[in-house]
Amino acid sequence: MISTATLVQAIVSGIAMGLIYSLVGIEYTLIWNTTGMLNFAHGKVITFCGYLFGALCLKQMGLPLVWSLILALVLAAILALLMSSSIFIPLRTKDNLCCILATVMAGKILYEAMRLIWGAFNVGIDNYFPGTINIFGATLPATYIYVLAIAFVMVVALQIFLNKTKIGKGMKCVSQNKNAASLMGINVTRYMRIATILSFVVCCFLSILLIPLITLSKEMAEMIALKGFAAGIVGGFGLIPGCTVGGVILGVVENLACIVIPSGYKDVVAFVLLIGFLLIKPSGILGKKAK
């Protein structure tokens, strides 16, 4: 019999990881919706932001936590402007293969930059979410609760931003109909840059949430990035609320599955879900059936 403690552990940490997948889904969907390009480099972007925050700001410059966060966000925004101007905007009209190759190679460049700048750096960062919490008899590292709370707040904040603010509404229009958007006086190119900046800001927050969970390393976000794709597909590709739903479902199902299957296969769950949904209901849980 599976104990309540195990179940609670699986579900709570599943929701926490799930919200992380949701945020990954949201960040690439922002760029996908406005430019039509899938940012295959997003895993490396997340990791790079992690190094900006952890290695550069926290350790090398010795800034306190909050200032490190702010500086890292600013640097992430600058990176976003660089990448959108050199890759996303110029290449969005080219064919699929070209876009995939370009973003993958951009990821490679980021990876190499990380290796060259911080390669030998030993980044031991103390967990900034210390302590444990007891829920229904299960003892969990408090990290999960902090991550859950912060991620949840972020998802809600993003929803509000996209639906209620002027910029957010502008971005929605650019995603739905670029022609019409430009006829409303919206500078479509500028909004693509704004979407990229927002996406990379989310990536930066993601890296901060991941460091206590996974520890900083060059491969930190690779699997998470791929699972983020799965989250988007499960919940509804191209839909922000879809990413939220898909991510949480993915996180929880993954953990519950590991109660029955050997943990070596945990990562396979996400990809099986991805393929399953693509074959059976490609529009995802929240998506409408496409014609």
Binding site: Q176, N177, N179, L183, M184, G185
Partner: protein
């Protein structure tokens, strides 16, 4: 108000417009008629900046606008209601209208006034304000596209084939509205149409485009009675 002078536009190596000139004053309706593929939409897109022009000049309120991007032209007061409506399908009617005023920074009081004005002119839209725009009928979408165009209080408005795909009764309604709004707002209206009869009936002046060249121009009433026009565009 708007002066187009010897504009040439190319699609790749194909010349779509050859030294096209036309102008429109402060308070009139000018229509541009011609067969399918004559270049009417290309002309509109060239003015808006959606398609770049190769040579010639376009002046709005005395200023050269031929190199400006569409969103800048919109901010300066030129509204283009495109062929095929191009509304935002996943937004509600009211949200679509809201987007019409996007380029302006109106207070919420001003926006509400504008909504009321729209609803007066288009009562059907008021009924359906919370409905998703994608689920409206063709005629209702056209009304929405026009209303949306008015939300930014334009100085010039251009309609591209408003009658396309609509039932004759609805077409009458649409043209009625175009005339009404021109009389109410006293702004210049450019009307591009395949339906030559309707276009000539409601406009002051007209230009005939044939294969990218202006072949005829003049008072609409004259053109209506010209035998060549009658034969080519009015069913003999």
């Amino acid at each position: 108000m708007l002066k187009v002078d010897k504009v040439c536009t190319y699609y790749g190596k194909v010349m779509a417009l050859h030294e096209v000139s036309f102008e429109i004053g402060q308070d009139e309706i000018v229509s541009i008629i011609g067969a399918n593929g004559a270049g009417k939409s290309t002309l509109m897109k060239s003015i808006m900046g959606t398609v770049p022009i190769k040579s010639g000049s376009i002046q709005f309120e005395g200023k050269e606008i031929s190199k400006q991007k569409p969103h800048v032209n919109v901010k300066n007061g030129i509204v283009y209601v495109p062929e095929g409506r191009e509304i935002f399908p996943n937004l509600t009617v009211k949200e679509n209208l809201e987007m019409g005023a996007f380029c302006r920074n109106y207070s919420s009081k001003k926006i509400n006034e504008l909504y009321e004005e729209c609803y007066e002119m288009f009562p059907k839209l008021k009924e359906r304000q919370k409905q998703q725009a994608g689920s409206l009928s063709g005629g209702e979408q056209q009304m929405l596209a026009i209303a949306r165009g008015l939300m930014s209080e334009p100085k010039l408005i251009m309609f591209d084939e408003p009658s396309l795909g609509l039932a004759p009764v609805i077409v009458d309604e649409v043209f009625d509205i175009i005339v009404k709004l021109q009389q109410a707002k006293h702004i210049p209206v450019v009307l591009v149409e395949q339906n030559a009869f309707m276009a000539l009936s409601i406009s002051n002046r007209a230009y005939v485009l044939e294969n990218g060249v202006v072949s005829l121009s003049g008072q609409s009433s004259e053109l209506l009675n010209m035998p060549s026009v009658k034969e080519a565009y009015l069913g003999g």
